[in-house]
């Protein structure tokens, strides 16, 4: 009985493999590339020279204080990997990292009190590639960026509002600002004000 079942398994597996692995995946890939090439290829953003500067969905490292900064990443936004440092709520290393982040914040943003520092800016995201920050995390960075770039605070605030995605269907998830798009907008503002 068992030997015959091994044979049946091998034959059935071969057919199911062709259906589930080959046909299913290639048909979906074909339809996706044909109908939704932008999403299917990773929602890439190109510059005027047609070079890839990133993906709408993947966060980037912004160290320069002239840019809006994103969340803490344990993979330094290297999108060939992903993950978080998995520090438990009770782990002393978590407190040390957060206190260091707060000191850094005070240095870079002397005009903004710590009580206006939103939680998401100094916590590690789940993926290490979170493309978003909360609107208040973007607003809290306005005084610093305005001072460093010369772009007025009003313009920066308008830029943030423009780039804020409300919760989907009004109730799913939180409001989020895409940091890469925000900084692309900031670059354009800077180019506009200097010319």
């Amino acid at each position: 009985m068992a030997i015959k079942m091994v044979w049946t398994t091998l034959r059935t597996s071969a057919i199911l493999f062709i259906i589930c692995c080959v046909i299913y995946q290639l048909v979906i890939t074909g339809i996706a590339q044909l109908v939704m090439p932008h999403q299917a290829s990773g929602s890439l953003i190109y510059n005027s020279k047609n070079q890839v500067i990133g993906s709408e969905l993947i966060g980037q490292q912004f160290k320069d204080p002239q840019f809006f900064q994103g969340r803490v990443s344990s993979v330094d936004y290297n999108a060939n990997g992903s993950g978080s440092s998995n520090l438990a709520p009770s782990n002393p290393a978590l407190m040390e990292r957060m206190k260091a982040s707060i000191e850094e914040w005070k240095k870079q943003n002397p005009d903004v009190p710590v009580s206006s520092l939103p939680m998401d800016l100094i916590t590690n995201s789940g993926s290490g590639l979170d493309p978003d920050i909360s609107p208040s995390a973007a607003m809290a960075q306005v005084p610093r960026i305005s001072k460093l770039t010369g772009v007025s605070q009003d313009k920066l605030q308008a830029l943030i509002t423009q780039n804020t995605n409300p919760p989907q269907l009004g109730m799913l998830g939180d409001s989020a600002v895409n940091v890469l798009k925000l900084n692309i907008g900031l670059e354009q503002l800077k180019a506009g004000s200097s010319s």
């Binding site: 049946t8 999403q39 789940g126 919760p167």
Partner: protein, 557 residues
Amino acid sequence: MSMFAYIGVALTLLIALLLARPMGAYISRAFDYTPGKLDRFFGPLEKIIYKLGGIRQNNQTWKQYLVALLVSNTVIVLIVYVIFRLQDKLPLNPAGIAAMSPDLAFNTAISFLTNTNLQHYSGESGLSLFSQMSAIIFMMFISPATGIAASIAFMRGLAGKPMGNFFVDLVRAITRILLPLCVVAALIFISQGVPQTLHTSVTATTLEGTQQQIGMGPIGSFLAIKEMGNNGGGFFGANSAHPFENPDAISNLLQMLLMLLVPISLPFTYGRIVGNPKQGRILFVSMAIMFLIMLSSSLYAEHQGNPLINQLGLQQSAGSMEGKEVRFGIEESSLYSVVTTASETGAVNTMHDTLTPIGGMIALSNMMLNTVFGGSGVGMMNVLMYAIISVFLSGLMVGRTPEFLGRKVEGKEMKLIAVTLLIQPLLILAPTTIALMVFPNTISNPGYHGLTQALYEFTSSAANNGSGFEGLGDNTVFWNLSTGIVMMLARFFSMVTLLAVAGSMLAKTPVPESSGTLRTDQALFGSVFIVVVVVVGALTFFPALVLGPIAEQLTLK
């Protein structure tokens, strides 16, 4: 914002609720062997598969059914093991990924065979494109299909009907349930931004002028079966927290619905197969009540956040964002953690290691009870086992021979069930103790949380869930072998014993219902069921929970 976010949570659950009954009815029709409308649609394809596969569509005895299940699963796991070991030499390996070590390949093959999807590797660096697209995807279809088939056979046995044919059920689970829904879901995921490409990586020049490697792949099709089949293994290391594996709240909603779909529908399928829809409904409601209690506790805990962080004097927004993604926020992250552990899927959109102690404990409790809906098929089998225990205990209390669905539950069945009940805590607590004593250096977080990390890993393995407290350094020979053995025993031991129970019940002559029969389709029975689940679970695991998450919560000051 919070108010609307709660409406979002309620909306998710409402959609799931509306889908459960029709889907349950659909599943029961899909496995009905009397010719019907569905055969006209699916029949032609299935006939080709039966013919080429050499499947004889005869009814099997419970033993033949079980042998077919075990033989086919063994053959498939061996092939997959070989693929993982040889992936460096096989085609479609553009990133030059090395072969898996024997212990890691053992763990990974078992993990995907048993619907667990515990991952001791990271998708980006551990698997070639070929392995992802062949071995992993194939198992992601076969393992839920096996689970659904086993549960349908179990229900048929309890109902006194012929058990059916394993290969026919396996094929039908794929052609009639998993595959059609996956095609639709995959396209919706892609429309929201999930990549579907054969390229594995793109290099971007960032605004700051540095190079960023962006990993991608055929993720839409992968993601659909990952959630639909209660598999849960991530294409990427960060699983559904990764923006490519869960780009927005819509994809997040769809993932939760897919995870819940089969588990919440099976009680209704059961009601139809055994011809007692009320009983199916009572079991559904009982599980839904447990689910809602778990969810509210988790939401409350995550909103309270971490008292230590709250003391830092930051902007007062409730909840801890450590390990969470901004686009989901607190509510959708907490909901996802409860859904993924209730449905024994194991996909995560937030890092469970960083949840608050109580939030982590809720995830742990769902897996320990393993009856808050549970995984594809096997969850329902476990629930029915608890239903029979409830009947047995009630019978003992009033001094009558207990009956379930018109058949006497006697010593033989109860012995099989008692062994099944005992093996689960043994598989969790014994290896956790060994890990804590011998391999404490693999645990990344200090203190009470460290104990929880080890406990979570074995609970997740024994519940065939697959999520983890991922700080654990788990790619070692000890963790790979121990969790591999736990996953295998947890999955197949209960399948063997419970199919034996069904076979034994099937062989009995039905007894007519009398005024003394305990009614199993009333609210009273539902309450007994919940009490039995909670008491058995609490007696077994409460001490471990006190030493882990509860102690951690109490010392967070």
